[in-house]
Each structure stands twice: as C-alpha cells, then as structure tokens.
Subunit: 206 residues, 4 copies
C-alpha cells in the first residue's frame, strides 16, 4: 500500500483542490470539501499538506517558478520575482520579440498545466507577491515605450491600466476552452501585438 497509495491520494487531493479553487476561489474552498472531493478525511489531508496555504502554494508553485525562470533568462537576470527593483534596460526594437516570446511561453506553460495557470491568474490573492510582480514587470515593459503624456499621473494610470489589461486578457484567452494549443498561441500573439501597437500609438499621442 505504502508508497503507491500515498502518491495516488496526494494526487487526488491536488485534483480535488484544483477543482474547488477554480470553482469557488480560495476563501470558499474549504479543506473539508477538498478532502471530501478526494475521498479522504479532513484529518488525513493534513498528513499531505500541513496547511491550506501550503496546499495552494504546492499547486501553484511550480508554475510560478517556470514563469520566473523564463523572465530571468530573457532579461539577463535583470528582472526576477525575488528582486524589488529592476536593473534591466530594454531596447525599443526588442519589445515586440520579447512580448511575443512571453506570450508563447505563457501559452506553453498553460498547456502543460492549465488549471495551475488559471488558479494563478484568477485567484491572484493567493500569491499577492506574484500578482504585484507580474503587474510591475509588464508595467516596466510598457513604461519604457511611453515618453509623453499630459501629466505624470495620467501616464502612470494609463500604464498601470495597460498592464492590468494584459493579464486580464490573457487569462480570458486561457479560459476559453475551445482553442487548441496552436490556436491559443495565435490568439495570444494577436492579442499582444495589438497591445504593442496600442502602446506605440498612445506614446505618440499629443
């Protein structure tokens, strides 16, 4: 029984937790119902995950790491989840490439671990750090491209706004379950290229 069963149960718990999280979100997913969904007693669940938090982090952790690694690699270690300030300078000409690569990578990750990715994107409160980081990262990408706006406040607001948009939009694409991987890649590319144009146009305004 020992080893095999354990892994199986662990897997069942994770599967059940994913379902719960996707359906109800963090706060409305109870350890009891997750356990029940996994055919396990609540007490036993704690043999596998020592807390609700750990369970969620386990589910989402690898995916988070993957994203972080990609970002690090593509920014010469100038940008990362662990750092608070980014030392990386991007060339205007590289933006399209990088953003497209990011899009491709995200789709790839999504296709490997769709639920994890969605949980990550939907319940961003789960790891507020990652949320802040992603926003800041995209914010960084975007702010490089914009030099003139009516006021700094406006610039900041619009830039942040685009950043939030992008995350929300990508999530939305992932949610649409009718796309195969190739289509999804295309959709994300179209979506992101739109943003590049938009930012470009915005930058040239006034």
């Amino acid at each position: 029984m020992a080893q095999v069963l354990k892994d199986e149960v662990r897997e069942r718990i994770i599967v059940s937790a994913k379902q719960e999280l996707l359906k109800n979100g963090y706060k409305d997913s109870s350890m009891r119902s997750i356990a029940k969904g996994a055919g396990v007693t609540a007490g036993n669940l704690y043999r596998y995950f020592t807390s609700k938090d750990e369970l969620i982090k386990t589910i989402v952790g690898d995916t988070l790491l993957r994203i972080n690694e990609f970002v690090k690699k593509n920014t010469d270690d100038g940008v990362s989840l662990e750092k608070d300030d980014f030392s990386w300078q991007i060339q205007k000409s590289d933006l399209t490439t990088i953003i497209n690569d990011l899009g491709d990578e995200l789709v790839k990750i999504y296709y490997e671990r769709p639920e994890e990715m969605l949980i990550l994107l939907m319940h961003s409160r789960i790891s507020a750090a990652m949320d802040a980081w992603l926003t800041r990262l995209i914010y960084y990408f975007i702010s490089q491209m914009i030099d003139s706006y009516e006021t700094t406040a406006i610039k900041t607001a619009v830039t942040k706004s685009y950043a939030a948009s992008i995350i929300g939009g990508i999530r939305e694409i992932f949610v649409s379950d009718k796309l195969d991987q190739a289509e999804m890649t295309t959709a994300v590319r179209i979506y992101l290229s739109g943003f590049i144009m938009m930012i470009d146009a915005s930058a040239k305004r006034k």
Copy 2:
C-alpha cells in the same frame, strides 16, 4: 420622522458596507462589522436588508441600472441588461464615437458613485450576471469590428479577451486616486483609443 430615521439608517448601513467591501472584499466583510460601522446592531441591520446578498445587490444595483440606461440609449434599445441576444448593428464609423462616449459616461458615473463603481468592477463575483453582461456588451461592440481571424474560436477568444482587458484596465484607472475628473476622462480616452486602434489593426491582420 419614523420614515426619515429609517432612511438615514439605511443610508448609513450602505455607506459602511461600501467601505468594508472596498477594503476587504465580499467574503471578508462581515455583517457585524458593517453594522458596527453604521452605528447599528447586527440584528437591526436585518430589518433593512434581509441578507448579505441583498445588501450588496442594493449597493450595486443603481449603478448597474445607470450603465444599462446609457447603453440602451446609445444603441437604440438594441442592447440591454435584460436581453440575452443583441439585435443592434453598429457602423464601423461610429465605433470611435460610441466607445469614447462610453468611456466618458463611465468616468461620469464613477465620479458620481466611485465606491459603487469600484465594487462593481472589483468584486464582479458579487453579481456574476452583471459581469457576464458587461463583458458581453463590450464583446458585442468589439466583435462588430473584427471580421477575419484564423478561426472562429480564435476570433471569439481574442474578442472576449479584449473585452475583459477593457474592464480590467478601466478599473485600474479608477483605482488610481491621484487623478481629478478631467485627467481621468483623458486617461480613459487615451486608454480606449488605444483599444480602437488595436482592434482595427487586429481586424486587418491576415
């Protein structure tokens, strides 16, 4: 006086609930603390609102109505909150005007009822119906402009994605408390005009 008093208390409850909701979200806002913030007992609160759900719907309802009315007016009653299918045809040439008007209107509503608007946008789970509707509405606007994509699935996905983006982005602008109304109007216009260009460009792709 009885009536007057009642209305005043009702108002205080709503004010308190708004604060709580904005600060803590739905699940973490307790009826007790809402009541306390209103200088009312929890028991008494239930004389004004029969449940937590009703309270939230009350708060957000008017704003929802306002948006709906604007939309109806600007689509010759072809689009509305109540209908499931939209019978309205928009001309490509009108899109800029309409979207800009929508942006202006949203800012106006936001400035009249900032909390309600933010609650509406942030805690969309509160009334999933309204969420779906707003998405569908913008989706409708956008999908009018796009005629060719690799596949219908892609078209649907990207369009939905833009719709979600727009909501997310506008929310983000509203959240930045450093803008006065004029600046906010500008920011939203810039933001939305970016989207028009984006959609336009996307439509011409392939």
Copy 3:
C-alpha cells in the same frame, strides 16, 4: 433581558471557567466545556470573551494587579511587574516586616478571591510573566540576606530554591480549605518567619 442577563451569563462563564481551570488546568480546559458548564453555547461565549487567553486574563488580571500594586507601594516603586531590573535596596532589618506584610496581603487577597489566587499560583504558565516576576521578586528579597556560600553557583541555586519554595508553600496553605482568614494569616506568618530564620541561618553557614 438586556443588561441583567448579560452580566449574569458573564458571571456564569467565569464561574464555570474557574472550576474548569482549577480542576483541569489551562490546556485541559476547553472553551466548549467551559461554555457548557455555564449553560451557554460555545459560539455565544465568544461574545463575552474574544479568546481563551482573554478569558483567563480576565479571571486572573485583577488579582495580578492587586499584588503588583502592593509590591510597588512597599518598595517605593523600586520593584514592579513592569520592570526588568529592580532599583530597590532593602535593609536587613526591614526584611521581617516586609515579608510579613507581604504574607498578610496575600492572605487578604486570597480571601477576597480564592479561586483567582489559586489559578494564578497553580497554573503559573497562564501568565509566565507573573511567575517569573514573583520568583524574581522573592529571589531579590532573599539574595539580599545571603552573603557567603561555597560557590556563586550554589548561592544562586539555593536562593532560587528558597524563592520557589515560598511560592509553592503559600499555595499549599491556600489550598487547605479548613482555615479561616485569621488562621490562614497566622499560618502564613509562621510559614514565612520560618523562612526568614532559615535564610538567616543559611547565610551564617560556613
């Protein structure tokens, strides 16, 4: 119902808690059983005391304060529960008076609030601070009187030992429920005077 009942219930909870604590100690006293003993639901108990800790502190708090005040008054504010180091110098000749006064006061407090006092003395873990403080205080008293021992280590050990003894012994006197207040006062005096002699004798050794 309002005010009267509330106070009565509160009282019932405290009474029940005292019984539980005296019988089972802190760890084995459950909020459930305390509530049950008070004829109250566990949920309702939390309307009166926001946590197990607060409940215990409420029970024991006043008594703790009383002791602290007495000590402060009798040491010219040189010794107190709040301070970590004592700035107070005691005269050898005053020791008897002070220790006797302390004994009298403790008996007085015990007779006002016997359960609280016992809970304080028996379950010292409840307020480890107070435990450390009392030990330190008595330790301070005693160490003033002893100047020569084989080694410092021995001196320290024996002094601490006396301090612990005194607390344990007084507790034991309090526990014997057959004494009236006058008898108890006498018993404590006899007990404490024994210690004074003992310390004196110990100090003169070698």
Copy 4:
C-alpha cells in the same frame, strides 16, 4: 537479535519521550513527535507502549521505586508508597540524619537519572498518586517535629506547606544545570538544613 533490536528501539523511544516531556510538558508532548525523535513511526511506538500514559509511567516508574525503596529501608518498612497510613515513629534526634540522608539520596538518584527525576518533580500531574505520596511522606517527617500550634488546622496547613516547599525547592536546585554533583549535594544539604532549623523554630513558637 530480535530482542536486542527491540530493546534498543524501546530505549530510543524513552530517551525521546524524556526530552519532549522536559521541554514541553505532558499535554504538549505528542506521541508523533516522541516517535519522530526516536526515529520510529508513531504506529510502531504503540507496539512498545500501549498508551501515552503507560509510556510516561514507564519512564518515571523506576525512579519512583528507587525512592520508595530508600524510604522503606530508612523507616524500617514503616513508610512506603503502597501504604496509606504510616506506622513509623521517628525520634527527634534522628531527624537531621534522616533528612540529610534523604537529601543525599535524592541527589544521587538525580545524578543517575536526572531526566526521570525532573519529570517526576515537574509534571507531578503525571502520576498524581506519587505526588500525593511524596507530599505525605515529607509531611510525615515534618509533622513528627511539630507539637504545638494555634490550632490543628494551622498545624496541618503549615506542615503540608513545608512539605510542598521542600519538593519545589529541591526541584529548583536540580533544574539549575550549573552545579556538579558535589555542589548539588552541598546545595541540597544547605537547603534542607535550613528547613530543619525552620521547623525546629516553628515548633518552639508559642
């Protein structure tokens, strides 16, 4: 080998349990962590000890026996753990010798099995019977020496009080880990001789 292995494991469990008990006390020592500390699974632990209670009694049992044997030997079998009433008469002149011998013996036992002794003294709740017995024993020693007090109640109370003091005090000496065996013997002697004087003086009062 089977037997050997078993004994070794048994020993490891006991060692681990001792550590836990000394650090955390009875209630906060979990069977799981005791097992873990012994490099054993919780399940297997139950093959060696059928319950938490039995485990603790096993740990403390030998030491208890040792004390009992010493006491029996020194009281001509008049006092023992098993008896409820003591038939032994002690001569005033022998008290010093006996108490000193008791002190020496306790130190000796402590140095042979320090943890067991401390557990015995600290967590007296573990075996309330032994607690009562030790108190009664010392109580017996002491009560022999005291013939006149205000009332019998006072006499009983003070005597019990001294008994409890002695146990508490000796525990305190044992806890101070800075003493070697010789020093500890001295400390205990000083401590106990103080008590003899005290009791003597008390006896002469009034």
